[in-house]
């Protein structure tokens, strides 16, 4: 590559053109090189991490069972106006679906899905399938004769609603709402609400845990930041050791500390503060969750706070004092405002981590200390209502990403520090 650079104005037009082309080519090459370095990890994360989450998103609205296993009915119902009972053609389609579905042993899956939406649908469909020999033309009369439910317009509305490829029904359930027979969506009775309550409790308890970490973490970070570096480094071990210790180890040590026959109760009894019979129940309830999680998340508050406080010159406080400020005014008006970035960074980090917790609440939370994560796990592994688990997961994800967006605005991903 020979570029003769003389005084720029003297370059011949074609020389200038070539120079420009060379420059942009070299820029493009650098761009490609940088992209190639990043590409393997980007592809890896998309395949192993983003795709699974996308799959879950899909699952929360996907509704294949009725559409796939009662195809003719679904198709025929598309033109039905929901005002009065369907006509003979639709009944004929239903008869076909039930007879064929019974042979292929698939009708049960559709029936189960219908039953999620309205109790009794399963026995209606399965009962009809059992008496398939009696189904004959004219189908409308014959089907209603076999099962009276086929003469009920509500049941047809349910089938039509669930026949669409996508459903909002999991989200409706996850928001503690129900669909009325007329298709209107409304909240269920407040006493029967589960998920919204649990979401609120998760948010509320996470806020409490965040507040606790600020309360405990701020003075300690201040102490560490105002100490000589050597002493601070030694005391820092007390913060870093829990940080590096396995989550399960810390959770099980809290069981040993807090349980009725545990160390704290033993200590209180020994000190004579409480009677042996009146041991305090500090675990397997909300207290256990809050205490253990505050302990687990406290380092995530102290570390960013400490690094911000390190940058505040101590001379500012002294200057404020020498100008006549009381210690409180000096702290409140001079020191605290400068540490706000640290507080917000730590608080948002703790809050994000806390809201998605599952293990600790499951082990020490009992009934009252459960988080939304525990219910997602329950629907994944216990009730096997995967659609609902996916919908709850997506709601939690949206919440977390929203807060993360705020975090990013305030702190910036590039400023995340470890250790």
């Amino acid at each position: 590559m020979s570029i003769s650079v003389e005084a720029s104005g003297d370059l011949a037009p074609e020389e200038q053109k070539r120079l420009k082309a060379d420059l942009s080519r070299s820029l493009r090459r650098n761009k490609i090189r940088a992209s190639l370095l990043v590409a393997p990890l980007v592809i890896f994360i998309i395949v192993t991490f983003v795709a699974p989450i996308g799959n879950m998103l899909w699952r929360s609205v996907d509704n294949p069972l009725v559409r796939d296993f009662m195809p003719q009915t679904t198709l025929a119902l598309e033109s039905w106006d929901e005002q009065e009972l369907p006509d003979e053609a639709i009944y004929a389609a239903l008869a076909q679906d039930i007879i064929e579905g019974r042979k292929a042993k698939t009708i049960g899956k559709a029936a189960k899905r219908l039953n999620y939406e309205k109790g009794g649908m399963r026995s209606l469909v399965m009962g009809t399938a059992r008496k398939h020999k009696k189904i004959e033309a004219p189908y409308k009369e014959s089907l209603i004769k076999i099962k009276k439910g086929w003469g009920d317009i509500e049941n047809w509305r349910v089938i039509k609603r669930l026949g669409s490829s996508f459903t909002a029904s999991y989200y409706i359930a996850a928001f503690d709402m129900e669909t009325s027979p007329e298709g209107d969506v409304s909240f269920v009775d407040e006493k029967e609400q589960i998920y919204l309550k649990l979401f609120w409790r998760t948010v509320w308890m996470s806020l409490l845990i965040t507040a606790m970490t600020v309360l405990l973490g701020y003075p300690v970070s201040y102490l560490l930041a105002s100490m000589p570096l050597k002493t601070a480094n030694v005391l820092m071990i007390l913060v870093l050791l829990p940080f590096w210790t396995s989550l399960l180890v810390r959770t099980s040590s809290w069981i040993a500390m807090l349980q009725a026959q545990g160390i704290l109760n033993d200590l209180l009894v020994w000190l004579g503060i409480i009677a042996d019979e009146a041991r305090v129940q500090m675990i397997y309830n909300a207290i256990g969750t809050v205490v253990a999680m505050t302990h687990i998340l406290l380092p995530f508050m102290i570390l960013p706070l400490y690094s911000v406080m390190k940058t505040v010159p101590p001379s500012y406080l002294r200057a404020a004092r020498s100008l006549g400020a009381t210690p409180w005014t000096a702290f409140w008006q001079v020191y605290l405002p400068q540490t706000v970035p640290g507080i917000s960074a730590g608080a948002i980090l703790v809050f994000i981590l806390s809201i998605g917790y599952y293990i600790t609440p499951a082990l020490v939370g009992g009934q009252s200390g459960q988080f939304i994560g525990n219910l997602i796990a329950y629907h994944m592994q216990g009730s096997l209502n995967w659609g609902l688990a996916a919908a709850l997961g997506v709601m939690l994800l949206v919440l977390v990403l929203g807060i993360y967006g705020v975090y990013n605005r305030i702190v910036g991903v590039n400023n995340v520090k470890l250790g």
């Binding site: 192993t48 991490f49 699974p52 003075p219 102490l223 099980s252 026959q261 994944m380 250790g419």
Partner: protein
């Protein structure tokens, strides 16, 4: 922070209250970890101190839980599984993460913010969501209940740490060094291994240690996608705490605490070395 000589009585009182409060927080931080250690030598199957332990009666202490741990096939298998999975996922995350960090540190990279956000996302997204998604997706690929599935999942969770630590090391990296290498006739590959690599090595290693800890401590994804064959240490602890709570858990915990002390020391040494090399302190 010493108390200033001009402080009044109120300020003095406040100063001592503040100190006592801080000591209390330090105790809160460290006590739960320290009590585990003596409890794991308990001769009785309890989670609390017996009378004998408090009077330092040697008979009240024993190594029976360690013996149980080291002679149980389930625990030994879980160690093997954890080591295998952590080993491969650490190497994979270190390699992928370092490459990506090298790309991210170049100013020419387009869409940097979006890419960084994407690469950090495994750290932000609640694990229960990731685990549920992986359960569906990995099953459909046929890699759930396999080492491959668990290694891939743990690699994804570990890479953000490598990306962050290596990017941090590279942010102070003097790029003229590469040009100097090139001007002296070195090939880019040669410059990379002789100049770049030694300088970012501390970042790579501490990132890899974070990734290793992540894999070693990870339980939620393991609950969802590990089969019986892939039971890891955390998974074994999880079911141990839920089913029959025995002090074997405490023996394992003590071993893990020793392990984290070693890790902490290593990372600390690395950090100091890296600061020294870059001339910060």
């Amino acid at each position: 922070m010493a108390i200033p000589t001009y402080a009044g009585p109120l300020e003095r009182a406040w100063y001592y209250i503040f100190r006592i409060f801080c000591v209390a927080v330090f105790i809160f931080l460290i006590a739960p970890i320290l009590v585990i250690v003596p409890l794991s030598f308990n001769a009785e199957p309890y989670f609390s101190f017996t009378q004998g332990m408090l009077t330092l009666d040697p008979g009240a202490y024993s190594l029976r839980w360690y013996e149980e741990f080291l002679t149980s096939d389930r625990w030994l298998d879980s160690i093997k599984n954890s080591v295998i999975i952590a080993f491969f996922s650490t190497i994979l995350s270190a390699a992928l993460g370092t490459l990506a960090a090298l790309g991210l540190s170049r100013s020419e990279l387009p869409f940097k913010g979006v890419i960084m956000g994407l690469l950090i996302s495994p750290m932000i997204v609640p694990l229960i969501i990731a685990a549920a998604g992986m359960f569906f997706f990995y099953s459909s690929l046929g890699i759930s209940q396999s080492y491959v599935g668990l290694i891939l999942a743990h690699t994804a969770l570990g890479t953000p740490f490598v990306v962050i630590t290596v990017t941090a090391t590279l942010s102070n990296f003097d790029h003229t060094l590469i040009k100097a290498g090139a001007s002296l006739g070195a090939t880019p590959t040669y410059t990379f291994f002789k100049v770049t690599m030694p300088l970012i090595m501390t970042g790579v290693i501490s990132g890899a240690l974070f990734a290793m800890m992540t894999s070693f401590d990870e339980v939620i994804v393991a609950i969802f996608i590990a089969g019986v064959e892939q039971r890891t240490i955390p998974l074994q602890m999880w079911s141990g705490i839920r089913e029959q709570i025995s002090p074997t858990i405490l023996a394992v915990a003590t071993i893990l605490i020793t392990f984290s002390v070693i890790m902490l020391t290593t990372v600390e040494i690395l950090r100091r070395r890296s600061d020294r090399i870059r001339g910060i302190s």
